[in-house]
Symmetry: C2
Subunit: 154 residues, 2 copies
């Protein structure tokens, strides 16, 4: 039996959990300094003058941490990783709550849609619904990735 | 006259350009190692065994570089930055082509929708259409950010 998960093997409603990951102040500031140096992502003092109130992570840092946890989960559990041909994109990405230094994130993903490709029988499209929660079980981030997954070789 | 751009000041069809940014091999590997350590984002050798063919940037790195260029543009041209109350999220994020080490990215954004808030008169919702191009003027990445922007104080 192979470890490879093909399009046919993936079930609607299938769920996976990943994480946790602890968000450090150093990482929040380092990511923001490189990619999103808006003052409220760089210091509590600047954030106090905005609606954020205190330091919060760049939304793109949260998204990157979500990917980090998902990849770690695939690499630790190769039997769950689909034979991916890459991601087409993301629908409905939402930042629901600020992510703060000291927060511990964890996530879930659920397969919500499968679509065979008529023009490319070697692959199908899988849509999942991904949610990140903080340590209070509050959702902080959701997104719906769309991936191309190889069909079982005939 | 104030530099602050309120909801009322933003016009549908308004466009801005940002970048360029040169994507280095070192940055591609460093980002992937931290957030997306799939082998095809870490070495040409591993990528050659996949549909990518050679090393390509994590899609989340491309997204983060887009933010980096947009923030730099706002900070260099404070007269164009809206009085943002934060981003709600992103619709229709798409990775259209691989981003490779050595690519030079640049971007454009266009205001595509304005929606006043009935329940919160102090803000409105602005939707933009963002596109990144490579040095061959090929689109590599698109997304539609949704932001909350302050209305002019009465």
């Amino acid at each position: 039996m192979s470890d490879i998960v093909y399009f046919e093997d993936i079930q609607i409603g299938e769920t996976h959990s990943f994480g946790p990951h602890n968000v450090s102040r150093e990482d929040v500031v380092r990511f923001a300094a490189e990619f999103d140096p808006q003052p409220f992502h760089l210091s509590d003092k600047a954030a106090a003058q905005t609606h954020f109130g205190s330091l919060s992570a760049s939304g793109w840092h949260t998204a990157a941490l979500c990917m980090k946890m998902m990849v770690a989960n695939w690499q630790q559990n190769p039997g769950i990783q689909a034979a991916s041909l890459g991601a087409l994109g993301i629908d409905e990405l939402r930042w629901l709550r600020p992510v703060r230094p000291g927060d511990t994130l964890r996530g879930t993903s659920e397969t919500v849609e499968k679509k065979a490709s008529r023009s490319r029988p070697e692959m199908g499209i899988i849509k999942t619904r991904v949610t990140l929660f903080n340590q209070n079980d509050e959702p902080v981030f959701t997104m719906n990735p769309i991936a191309m997954v190889r069909t079982r070789p005939v």
